[in-house]
C-alpha cells in the first residue's frame, strides 16, 4: 500500500499546452491514455506525474527521469529544441527563451538570449555550410580521382595479368639459354687449363694424382653444378630482395616494428654485399638480359600486389578519403609531435601509436597494435573525421592510458545530407552533439 503526499504549485490553464511543439498540440485536445487508463485532461501539466512515460506532464518537471516525453522550447529567433523533463524547473536556464524555467521571476529569471543565440548559431551554420560546400567540392574531386585511379589500377592489374604468362615464358627460355652457354664456356675454360697442368706434372709428380682427380672432378661437375651456382646465387639475392619487399609490405600490417627494422637493416646489408660482389664480375650480356627480365617480372608482380592491396584498403564508400593516401598530418601538443600517416602508421614523436587498421565506420578509422605500454595494452589511436575543406588534425588526446583519440578535419567526412540540416535546422535533441 503506498500513499503519496506531495506539494502542488498552481498551474494556470492555458490555451496552448506548455512544453508541447505546435504540431503536436492537437494530440492533447483528445483524450490521453497511459498505463491502460484514461488521464483526465485536467491532469495534464498539473505538476503531478501520472504517466511513467511523462505524457501527462509535457510542460513540467514532474516526470523527470524519463526520456519518452521531452519539453519543447520554441526558442523564437533561434532553433527550437527539446530538453529532458529533468531540465524543467531545475533552476538552470537550458533554453535560450527561458521557457524551461518560466517560474523563475525577477532577478533570477532566465534572460531571453534567443536572438544572440540565433545569430551565433546562424553564423556557425553559415561557417559550417561554407565548410561543407567547399568540403563537398573537394570530396567530389577526390572521389572522381579515386574512381579514375581505381579504374587505372584495375586496368594495370589486368594488363599485368595478361602480360605475366608471356614474360614468365621468356624468362624460362632465357634461363635455359644461359644454362647452356655457361656450361659451354666453363668447359672451354677447363680445356685451356689442361695443357698447363700437364706441364706441371713433371715438376709436381707427387701432386699429380690429386690434381688429376681434381681435374676429373671439375670436368665431371661442370655441366650441371657450375651453371646452377651462378643462377642460384642470383636467385638467392632475388629471393632475399623479394623477402625484404614482402616483409616490408606485411609488416605495415603487423604489430612488430622491431623485427621489421632488423629485417630492413639485414636486407640492406645483404643486397649491398651481393651487388658489390657481382660488380667485380664481368657482365655477361645474356646474364644481363636475364636479370632485366627477372626485374621486369618482379616489378610487375610487386605492382600488382600493391595495387590489389590499395584497392582493398580503400573501398568505394571511403573514396572521399582517397587524398589521404601517402599523406602524413602532423599535430603538435605541448609535449609531443604526432604524425598520422594514413594507410601506414601513426607516431607520437618516436613512439609508434599504431599501424593503419582501416576504417571502422563512414567517418572513423583506427590505427592498432602500436608499441606496448608497460604492463598495459598496445597503444592504439582512434580517428574521428570531421567535415571540412582542409586537412588537419584538430585535437589529439589520450582518454585512457595508451588509447589515443584524434579528431581530423577532412572533406571525406562531409555528407550531402548535412546541407539540409544546416539550411533548415531541425529541433535540437538532448542526445545530439552538445
Amino acid at each position: 500500500m503506498k500513499f503519496t503526499l506531495l506539494s502542488v504549485f498552481a498551474c494556470s490553464p492555458a490555451a496552448v499546452i506548455r512544453g508541447v511543439a505546435p504540431e503536436v498540440q492537437s494530440k492533447y485536445l483528445q483524450s490521453l491514455h497511459c498505463g491502460g487508463e484514461e488521464v483526465a485532461l485536467s491532469a495534464i501539466n498539473d505538476d503531478y506525474c501520472d504517466c511513467d512515460d511523462g505524457s501527462d506532464e509535457p510542460g513540467t518537471g514532474a516526470c523527470s527521469g524519463q526520456e519518452a516525453t521531452l519539453f519543447h522550447c520554441p526558442n523564437v529567433e533561434s532553433t527550437p529544441q527539446v530538453v529532458y523533463a529533468s531540465r524543467v524547473g531545475d533552476g538552470i536556464c537550458d533554453c535560450c527563451d527561458g521557457s524551461d524555467e518560466a517560474h523563475l521571476l525577477g532577478q533570477r529569471a532566465c534572460p531571453n538570449t534567443c536572438r544572440e543565440e540565433g545569430q551565433r548559431q546562424s553564423a556557425e551554420r553559415e561557417k559550417k555550410l561554407e565548410d561543407l560546400r567547399a568540403g563537398l567540392k573537394v570530396k567530389l574531386e577526390t572521389i572522381s580521382q579515386a574512381k579514375q585511379q581505381k579504374q587505372e589500377k584495375e586496368e594495370q592489374i589486368q594488363r599485368i595479368n595478361g602480360e605475366l604468362p608471356g614474360l614468365e615464358a621468356q624468362l624460362t627460355e632465357l634461363l635455359k639459354k644461359k644454362e647452356e652457354a655457361d656450361a659451354v664456356r666453363l668447359q672451354a675454360d677447363c680445356k685451356t687449363e689442361l695443357p698447363r697442368l700437364r706441364q706441371k706434372v713433371k715438376d709436381l709428380e707427387e701432386k699429380l694424382a690429386s690434381l688429376e682427380s681434381q681435374l676429373a672432378r671439375v670436368q665431371g661437375e661442370t655441366t650441371s653444378t657450375t651453371t646452377k651456382k651462378v643462377v642460384s646465387e642470383y636467385a638467392k639475392w632475388m629471393d632475399g630482395a623479394d623477402a625484404m619487399e614482402d616483409e616490408k609490405d606485411e609488416t605495415d600490417m603487423e604489430p612488430d616494428t622491431t623485427s621489421q627494422d632488423t629485417q630492413e637493416v639485414d636486407g640492406g646489408v645483404a643486397s649491398n654485399a651481393v651487388s658489390s660482389d657481382r660488380a667485380d664480375q664481368e657482365e655477361d650480356p645474356l646474364e644481363k638480359e636475364l636479370k632485366e627480365m627477372e626485374g621486369v617480372l618482379k616489378s610487375n608482380k610487386d605492382l600488382r600486389s600493391r595495387l590489389t592491396k590499395e584497392l582493398e584498403e580503400l573501398r568505394e564508400e571511403h573514396f572521399g578519403f582517397a587524398s589521404l593516401r601517402d599523406k602524413c598530418l602532423e599535430f603538435k601538443s605541448s609535449e609531443y609531435t604526432y604524425k598520422l600517416c594514413f594507410f601506414k602508421d601513426a607516431k607520437q614523436s618516436f613512439t609508434r601509436l599504431g599501424n593503419w587498421d582501416g576504417f571502422t565506420s563512414p567517418t572513423e578509422a583506427v590505427f592498432k597494435n602500436g608499441e606496448m605500454c608497460f604492463g598495459g595494452p598496445a597503444r592504439s589511436l582512434k580517428v574521428s573525421f570531421q567535415c571540412g575543406a582542409t586537412e588537419e588534425v584538430v585535437s589529439l588526446d589520450e582518454p585512457s592510458r595508451c588509447n589515443y583519440a584524434a579528431v581530423v578535419r577532412h572533406s571525406g567526412a562531409c555528407v550531402e545530407t548535412m546541407m539540409e540540416e544546416l539550411e533548415s535546422p531541425r529541433i535540437r535533441h538532448p542526445k545530439e552533439e552538445l
Partner: protein, 947 residues
C-alpha cells in the same frame, strides 16, 4: 592512491619486478613478530605464572582529578614506590574510562591534546555512588537510559570490571596482561649498583629494565627493510587485555581492515599502523590506511537477554590487537582481546551500552558528533586518475547530461597540478581552471581537487618556501655518538704501557762517566688498564634537518600537521585568492596522508623523525598524522567560505575523523571479493563513527567487466554513503556512458534510485549528526534480539541495513556462478521488496537473481521519504516535492518515519536551527486498496516555511 600507482616509469619497473601481480607485498610490512615491542609483549604475556599479581592499586592514594574522576597510584610488586598513575572517569552517557601513565617519566609520554580525539571539555561526569570494600573500589552509576551500572576497580591484581544490570560485560586486565614499559636510562649508563639492574631473574618488570629471559633486540635501535629506527628514548610500549563476558557470538569493528564483518580470530594480531598498502588483500589483519581501534561486542546473557558494549583503545602509535577465545573451535563463550601499543599512554574507554544505539551515542558523546554533509556529498561523485584537460572535464560533464544521468561532483586527481606541486595547475592542460569550474558550478554541481600533504621540494613553489622558512617541516635527526662529557677518567686509571723494570739494578761494572747515566730496561706495565676512552652516548643535541622523502613530486617534505600553527597556515592556503583557479564550489581531497613516503620504512615516515611541535617522535603520533592533515583542510575550507559545509575526503584517518571528513577504503581492486568485502568494511567504519564512507565503485585497480560494474553500482547506491566512481590511470574509461546501452541503462537506473532516495539518506545523516545513529550498519545494530544477525554468515557478510528501514543484500558473484541468493530477513513485522513491493515474512528467502537489481527490502511499518523527480544534480532537486512511501505494518496498519529538511548546504541548521525535522506517524483504521492517493497534508506548509 598508492605508491606504485603514480610512480615514474623507472620507479614502476623497480616495484613491479619484485611484486607478484595482484598481491600485496608482505615483505614490505611488519608483522607482530617482526616488531620488537609486539614480539616482546607476546613473549611476556606467555610467561609462566601470569596469574601472579604484578600491579597493585593503592586505594589510599586516591585523589580527585581536576577534570573530574579519580586517580590512584599503582605499584609494581617488585618495586618499593608506585611509578604509575591510574585515572578513572565515569561519564554520564554510560562510559568508564581508564588511563594509565607514568608518574614521573624520564621523557614526556605523548598524550593526545584535549579536543583532538576526546571532546574538550570531556563528556559530563556521571553521578557516582562509591563504596570501598576490601580489595576493591566500587562505583555505581546509571547509564543515560537509566540502567544501573557498576565499575569495580580491583586493587590487586589491578583489574577493572564493568557491569550493567548486574551482569559483568567487560573486564580489563582480566588475564593479567597489563604491561607498561617505563622510559629508562640505557643500562650501560646506569651506575653499576642500581637495583633494577641487579634484580634477580625471577623479577618481572619490563624488558628495558629487566632484559633477562626476554627479547632484548630492538630496544634502542631496530632495523627493518633497510632502515634503522633509532630509539634514543628506548622502549616505552604498553599493553593490556580485555575480556568480553557472557556468550559472545561475534565481535565487530576494528576499522580499517580488509576483513569480515564478524571479526575473525586470526593467529596474527590485527595491526593498526596507517600505511599506503599497494593492492591490499581481503581477509587479512594487515594494517591499512586508517585506525579506529574500537571493538563492538554482543553479549548473550542469561534469560535470553542480549546486550551490546564497546571498547575503545585510544593510542596513536603502532598498535596490535589479538582476538582470542577460550575454546579451540573459536565459537561461543567469552571473547578476549589483548592490545599493545609502541608508546604513549594507556587510554581505554568502555562503552557500556547496553544497546547498540547507546553504544553509538556513548562513542559520539566521547568523540563528538559529525556535521551534516552537504546534500551534494551524498550524490554521485565522478573521479578518475585522471581527467587530463579542461576539455576532458567538460566532455565528461556533458556526457552525463547527454544521457540524463544524475551526478553531483567531478574530481581531479594529481595530474592536474604543475609537477605535483599541489595548489597549482598544469598550465598546458588547464589554462583557465576557474572558467572550467565555474562551468561546473553553473550546472549546480561541485568540484573536488586533490591536495596531498607532501610538499614538492622546489624553490619556485611558495608553499615549500614558506613552510620551510617557518620551520614547520618534520625533521630528521642525524644521530651520532659523542664522548660522554660526564664520564671522566678515574684518578687511579693506569695508562702507561711500559715501566722501568723495578727488579733491575745498575750493574756494578757500569761506568757512568763512560756509559752515561744508567736507565733500567722497560718492561710491560702489569697495572696497565688499557687506553681510557670516555663512553659513547647519543649526542643530546644532534643536528636536525628537514626530513626529505620521495613521493609523487620526487623529493618531498612533510609538514608537521600536529602543530596548530602549521594547520592554520595550511588552512589559509585554500583561500580563494591564494588557491587560484578555484571557486567556492571547489572542495578538497587529501590523499597519501598516512603519510606515504615511497622510500621510507613500510612506505611511510621513519618513526624516529621528529615533529618540531614539542619535539615529539613520529612513532608517538603516527596514526594521527592523516587526521591532522584532513582536519587542517576542513578548518581551512570553513574559513574560506564561512557558513558553508566543508567537504574533505581523506584516505588516512583516526578516531574522531568523522567530525571533519569523508573517507574511502583506499585503493581497492576490481574483483568480486573486494566488492563483497566493502560491505563489511563500510559497516566496520560506520560502527567507528565514520558514516560518510564508501569504497571506489568498480575497484581502483584493474578494470571491472560490465556485470561486476553493474553489481557494484547496484550495491553502492544503496549502502555507500559516499558514492564515488574512481579508476587507475592505466585502466580504460569507465564512466557510466562508456558501456553498452544495456549496461549504461542499468547503471543509470541505479543512480536514479540513489537520487530518488536522497531524502532518506539525508534524513539518516541527520540522525547520525544529531543522534549518533550510524547511517549504514550491520544487522545486529537494529535486530540485536535476532540471534541470526550475530551468527548467520549471509546476514553478517552479505547484508547490511540502510538506517532502520532498508535491508540490502549484495551480490558478489557473476551470474554464471550464482543464479539465486538466500536473503535473511530479520525478525520484524515483515518486509517489502524495494523493487516490486512484494511482501515477505521474516526468515530466509531464496531470491532468484536477474541483472536488473539486487535484493533489497523495506521494513514493514516504515515511512520512506523520497523525491520522484530525478534531475541532473541534487541541487537541481532541492525544491522538488517529496514523495512519502508508506510501508504498512500489516498487523497494526501503521507506519512511522522521519523527514529532515534544511537548506542542504550551509551551517544555519546548526547556528540558528533553521531546519525541519519531522516524525511521521501514519495509521489507517480501514483496509486500504493499493491505489496511490494524492494527499495534501498540512505538514507540507510547515516544510515550505522552514526554508
Amino acid at each position: 592512491m598508492e605508491v606504485v600507482r603514480r610512480m615514474s616509469w623507472v620507479f614502476l619497473i623497480l616495484a613491479l619486478t619484485v611484486l607478484p601481480a595482484a598481491a600485496v607485498d608482505r615483505s614490505k610490512f611488519r608483522t607482530c613478530e617482526q616488531g620488537s615491542f609486539c614480539r616482546r609483549y607476546k613473549k611476556w604475556i606467555s610467561r609462566p605464572e601470569r596469574e601472579k599479581a604484578l600491579w597493585t592499586v593503592l586505594p589510599q592514594t586516591r585523589a580527585p582529578l581536576p577534570e573530574g574522576g579519580f586517580s590512584f597510584q599503582v605499584k609494581h610488586v617488585n618495586e618499593e614506590t608506585p611509578h604509575l598513575l591510574l585515572k578513572l572517569n565515569i561519564y554520564a552517557s554510560g562510559m568508564v574510562r581508564m588511563r594509565i601513565t607514568e608518574i614521573k617519566p624520564l621523557h614526556i609520554r605523548h598524550e593526545i591534546p584535549p579536543g583532538d580525539v576526546v571532546s574538550d571539555p570531556p563528556p559530563a561526569a556521571a553521578k557516582v555512588s562509591e563504596a570501598d570494600e576490601s580489595g576493591k573500589s566500587i562505583f555505581k552509576f546509571a547509564t543515560a537510559d537509566g540502567t544501573a551500572a557498576e565499575a569495580i576497580l580491583h586493587h590487586s591484581p589491578l583489574a577493572l570490571e564493568v557491569s550493567v544490570g548486574g551482569q559483568i560485560l567487560q573486564r580489563l586486565n582480566a588475564r593479567n596482561m597489563l604491561n607498561f614499559e617505563r622510559y629508562r636510562t640505557p643500562k650501560e649508563r646506569l651506575p653499576p649498583d642500581t637495583a633494577s639492574v641487579a634484580a634477580p631473574d625471577t623479577v618481572l618488570l619490563d624488558a628495558a629494565a629487566h632484559p633477562n629471559g626476554l627479547d632484548t633486540n630492538g630496544l634502542w635501535e631496530e632495523p627493518f627493510g633497510g632502515h634503522t629506527d633509532q630509539k634514543p628514548r628506548g622502549p616505552a610500549s604498553l599493553g593490556m587485555d580485555v575480556s568480553f563476558l557472557g556468550d559472545v557470538p561475534s565481535l565487530f569493528g576494528l576499522p580499517e581492515h580488509a576483513t569480515k564483518a564478524s571479526l575473525p580470530f586470526y593467529q596474527e594480531p590485527y595491526r593498526f599502523f596507517n600505511l599506503d598498502v599497494f593492492e591490499y588483500e581481503i581477509d587479512e589483519p594487515m594494517a591499512l590506511y586508517g585506525a579506529i581501534p574500537i571493538i563492538w561486542a554482543i553479549h548473550r546473557l542469561g534469560g535470553g537477554q542480549t546486550v551490546s558494549s564497546g571498547f575503545l583503545w585510544i593510542n596513536p602509535s603502532e598498535t596490535f590487537v589479538k582476538l582470542e577465545r577460550d575454546t579451540p573451535d573459536g565459537k561461543g563463550g567469552p571473547a578476549h582481546a589483548w592490545w599493545t601499543s609502541e608508546s604513549g599512554v594507556l587510554d581505554t574507554v568502555v562503552m557500556v551500552g547496553p544497546t547498540p544505539k547507546t553504544v553509538s551515542a556513548q562513542f559520539h558523546d566521547l568523540t563528538g558528533h559529525g556535521p551534516m554533509p552537504g546534500l551534494w556529498a551524498l550524490g554521485k561523485h565522478q573521479c578518475r586518475w585522471n581527467y587530463m584537460s579542461e576539455k576532458d572535464v567538460a566532455t565528461v560533464d556533458s556526457m552525463y547530461d547527454k544521457y540524463d544521468i544524475p551526478y553531483d561532483t567531478i574530481w581531479l586527481d594529481i595530474e592536474h597540478t604543475d609537477g605535483k606541486a599541489y595548489f597549482s595547475w598544469n598550465a598546458a592542460a588547464f589554462p583557465n581552471p576557474k572558467q572550467m569550474i565555474d562551468n561546473i558550478s553553473a550546472k549546480r554541481r561541485k568540484f573536488v581537487n586533490v591536495v596531498d600533504p607532501h610538499i614538492k621540494k622546489d624553490e619556485k613553489f611558495h608553499v615549500y618556501r614558506e613552510v620551510r622558512d617557518k620551520g614547520f617541516f618534520v625533521k630528521k635527526v642525524s644521530y651520532k655518538q659523542i664522548d660522554d662529557p660526564t664520564d671522566v677518567k678515574p684518578a687511579d686509571w693506569v695508562e702507561e704501557t711500559k715501566i722501568p723494570d723495578p727488579t733491575a739494578t745498575q750493574p756494578p761494572e757500569w761506568n757512568t762517566e763512560e756509559d752515561g747515566p744508567w736507565v733500567a730496561p722497560q718492561i710491560d706495565n702489569p697495572a696497565y688498564k688499557g687506553a681510557w676512552h670516555p663512553r659513547k652516548v647519543n649526542d643530546p643535541t644532534p643536528d636536525l634537518t628537514d626530513f626529505e622523502g620521495w613521493c609523487w613530486p620526487g623529493t618531498s617534505l612533510y609538514p608537521d600537521f600536529t602543530d596548530p600553527a602549521m594547520r592554520e597556515y595550511w588552512g589559509s592556503q585554500f583561500a580563494l585568492d591564494k588557491y587560484t583557479g578555484t571557486n567556492a564550489d571547489t572542495y578538497i581531497w587529501n590523499d597519501m596522508n598516512e603519510p606515504s613516503v615511497f622510500n621510507g620504512p613500510e612506505v611511510t615516515m621513519p618513526r624516529d623523525a621528529i615533529h618540531p611541535n614539542g619535539m615529539v617522535e613520529h612513532r608517538d603520533v603516527h596514526n594521527m598524522y592523516g587526521y591532522y592533515v584532513h582536519r587542517a583542510t576542513f578548518e581551512g575550507l570553513q574559513k574560506r567560505t564561512p557558513g558553508d559545509r566543508p567537504f574533505v575526503l581523506t584516505r588516512s584517518f583516526f578516531i574522531g575523523s568523522h567530525k571533519y571528513s569523508a573517507i574511502w577504503t583506499g585503493d581497492n581492486y576490481a574483483q568480486w571479493s573486494h566488492l563483497k568485502a566493502s560491505i563489511a568494511m563500510v559497516g566496520a567504519l560506520t560502527l567507528g563513527g565514520q558514516s560518510l564512507v564508501g569504497a571506489d565503485v568498480g575497484g581502483f585497480f584493474k578494470h571491472p567487466d560490465t556485470e561486476m560494474t553493474v553489481r557494484w553500482y547496484q550495491l553502492a547506491v544503496l549502502i555507500y554513503p559516499f558514492l564515488r566512481n574512481h579508476a587507475h590511470l592505466e585502466t580504460p574509461r569507465r564512466e557510466p556512458y562508456v558501456f553498452d546501452e544495456k549496461t549504461m541503462l542499468r547503471i543509470k537506473a541505479s543512480l536514479q534510485m540513489r537520487y530518488k532516495m536522497l531524502p532518506l539518506w539525508y534524513t539518516l545523516f541527520h540522525r547520525w549528526a544529531s543522534a549518533a545513529e550510524p547511517v549504514v550498519r550491520p544487522l545486529f545494530w537494529d535486530f540485536l534480539d535476532d540471534p541470526q544477525t550475530h551468527e548467520n554468515e549471509e546476514a553478517l557478510e552479505s547484508q547490511i541495513m540502510l538506517g532502520d528501514s532498508l535491508l540490502v543484500h549484495g551480490i558478489a558473484k557473476p551470474s554464471s556462478e550464482q543464479s539465486e541468493a538466500t536473503v535473511y530477513l530479520p525478525k520484524a513485522s515483515g518486509w517489502y521488496s524495494i523493487h516490486n513491493g512484494a511482501f515477505k515474512a521474516p526468515g530466509a528467502h531464496v531470491h532468484k537473481l536477474d541483472l536488473d537489481s539486487i535484493p533489497a527490502y523495506y521494513r514493514a511499518g516504515t515511512v520512506v521519504p523520497l523525491k520522484s523527480r530525478i534531475r541532473r544534480s541534487s541541487a537541481c532537486m532541492s525544491l522538488d516535492p517529496f514523495t512519502l512511501n508508506v510501508y504498512l505494518n500489516p498487523q497494526t496498519g501503521a507506519a512511522k518515519g522521519r523527514l529532515y529538511i534544511d537548506d542542504y548546504r550551509t551551517r544555519t541548521y546548526q547556528d540558528v536551527g533553521l531546519l525541519c525535522a519531522r516524525k511521521i506517524d501514519f495509521t489507517c483504521s480501514a483496509r486500504l486498496g493499493t491505489r496511490t492517493h494524492h494527499a495534501k497534508a498540512s505538514f507540507e506548509e510547515t516544510l515550505k516555511s522552514s526554508h
